[in-house]
Amino acid sequence: MKGNEAIAEAAIQAGCRHYFGYPITPQTEVAAYMAKRMPKIGGCFLQAESEIAAINMVYGVASAGKRVMTSSSSPGISLKGEGISYMAGANLPALVVNVQRGGPGLGGIQPSQSDYNQATRGGAHGDFHLLVLAPASVQEMADLTMLGFDLADKYRMTAMILADGTMGQMMEPVEIHPREIPECDKSWALTGTKMQRERNIINSLSMDPYDLERMNLERYERYAAVERDEVRYESYRMDDAEICVVAFGIAARVAKNAINEARKQGVKVGLIRPITLWPFPKAPLKAAAETCKSFITVELNMGQMVDDVRLATECKRPIITCNRTGGVIPSAAEVYNAIMNAQKGGQAE
């Protein structure tokens, strides 16, 4: 199964019955899959007139208290930014999938991770975060999609799957099982008062700055809980590591090959792979800064996550960056060379 299809099927198994989207490479298989499946299970697939309309349809279904998702690729996510900000302000849970391609602008259609900053900083106006999940396999495309719905509901926030063209297009074995959807209080939802309760309002507006501040503080209390309880990462061959590679998604897969090669040469190197990009796994990186002599970041961008690594390690160790951009994927050989460079005591480029 392709990664994009795994996302779609996992969403359905997670109880999502509403999908709105607009075609864009390389994520269109999500929409195609939904178009095929939704009518057969009593769900709703609708191709919207624009990304903007799609995200606002998501806003509508989320307001009604139901699980809903949209998917797109980088330029489309920029268009969705408005709606994503409104959903953050209105505390609406939903899942947004970004199968990244090279940018900026129309960019290209090959895999990229250059929306890292956009995703981890909210990606639109206002004080807010998305819960950002970065799959590195087709199985994780499915698993993190399901998890994303659960966490979105739990914290009343939008979760984002930050994948890339490789993850979307590749095929790997995957198991997707129907699962129990955790109980979740949605008494805030717009279901109609039935003349039996006070009316519910979904909005992001407050003309009183103190009130708006209170709303933002309340939201950040939830974010603090997310940072405390929901950090996820993979630690790979780190036990005795002197060099720590940090990479997510496809870059982490490439890095693993290089690490295994370097290990054969006796180089003590390991990998920390953030699975949640926000919240970022600061603690394990801080700990690694105590035991490792240097870091290497591998990204499909000009170097965006490296700033979070610098913050997490408090700039205690040199960081070598190994980046390719525009849709180019760093090769295992390039990462291997970076590891060997670090082994020789090479400094950051």
Binding site: A53, N56, V58, G60, A64, G65, E82, G83, I201
Partner: protein
């Protein structure tokens, strides 16, 4: 003693923030009366716009979602698709519906989305202080057309009912005004019909309401109502532009 006149149940007790002489209050009341008379308050969900009616969620006594500027038809689409048995309406001004949200409006109509749209056309941006609207008349003086709307420079007004009537999609399109008793009564009838259509599953029903903005037009409330007759109605003729079930305006 019998009560001969009272506030509709579907309006809250909140004091309207609208300017003196503004006709938003009338239209709010007409919408609320329709909701009361059809007995649908408990399953009605409103979608408020950005613009003067941004606080509509404080006034309607039902569940309300506040949408981003222009996106109300998309939000309403989501709400309706999530629970088709609910009654979903949007309440939008001209900047919201006919400028920034044109695409959402046209495509909701093209899909014959089973929602009710109340469209307030007062030919100006009220909330931001009187700038040119997509529906401002040729020659109309506004803050951003201080020498009068020059159609050679910034184009012509958009006639929404006429434009949407060219589509096969929508069920019902009518333009009304609220500048005198007779027109208000006709407006009430149109708004109620637009809700009834949704209850009957007929589809996209939009009522365009020619409204006044004395503050930003720089007129007394009375003069503003006259201006609707003198200037607006000639450019925006009242009437039913499409009523599929009645065989009116059906595309060939």
């Amino acid at each position: 003693m019998s009560v001969v006149f009272q506030k509709p149940h579907a309006l809250t007790d909140a004091v309207l923030h609208y300017c003196p002489g503004c006709t938003h209050g009338i239209v709010h009341r007409l919408v609320a009366e329709a909701i009361d008379e059809l007995g649908i308050e408990g399953k009605t969900i409103g979608v408020a716009p950005v613009g003067c009616a941004v606080f509509a969620y404080d006034y309607f006594n039902c569940d309300v979602a506040e949408a981003a500027h222009g996106r109300a038809p998309a939000v309403a689409t989501g709400l309706k698709r999530a629970e088709p048995s609910n009654i979903v309406f949007t309440y939008q001004g001209d900047g919201d519906l006919a400028s920034i949200g044109t695409a959402e409006t046209v495509h909701a109509a093209a899909r014959n989305e089973n929602i009710t749209v109340i469209f307030i056309n007062n030919a100006i941006y009220g909330m931001t202080g009187g700038q040119m609207a997509p529906t401002s008349l040729p020659g109309q003086v506004t803050q951003t057309s201080p020498y009068g709307r020059d159609v050679n420079h910034c184009g012509y007004p958009v006639r929404i009912c006429e434009m949407l009537a060219t589509l096969d999609g929508p069920e019902y399109l009518e333009r009304v005004a609220v500048n005198n008793v007779k027109n208000v009564r006709a407006a009430k009838k149109a708004i109620k019909k637009a809700f009834q259509n949704q209850i009957d599953g007929k589809g996209f029903s939009l009522v365009e309401v020619l409204s006044s903005c004395p503050t930003n037009w720089g007129m007394t409330p009375v003069k503003a109502l006259e201006w609707i007759d003198e200037k607006m109605i000639p450019y925006y003729p009242l009437g039913v532009y499409k009523d599929r079930s009645a065989g009116k305006g059906e595309a060939k």
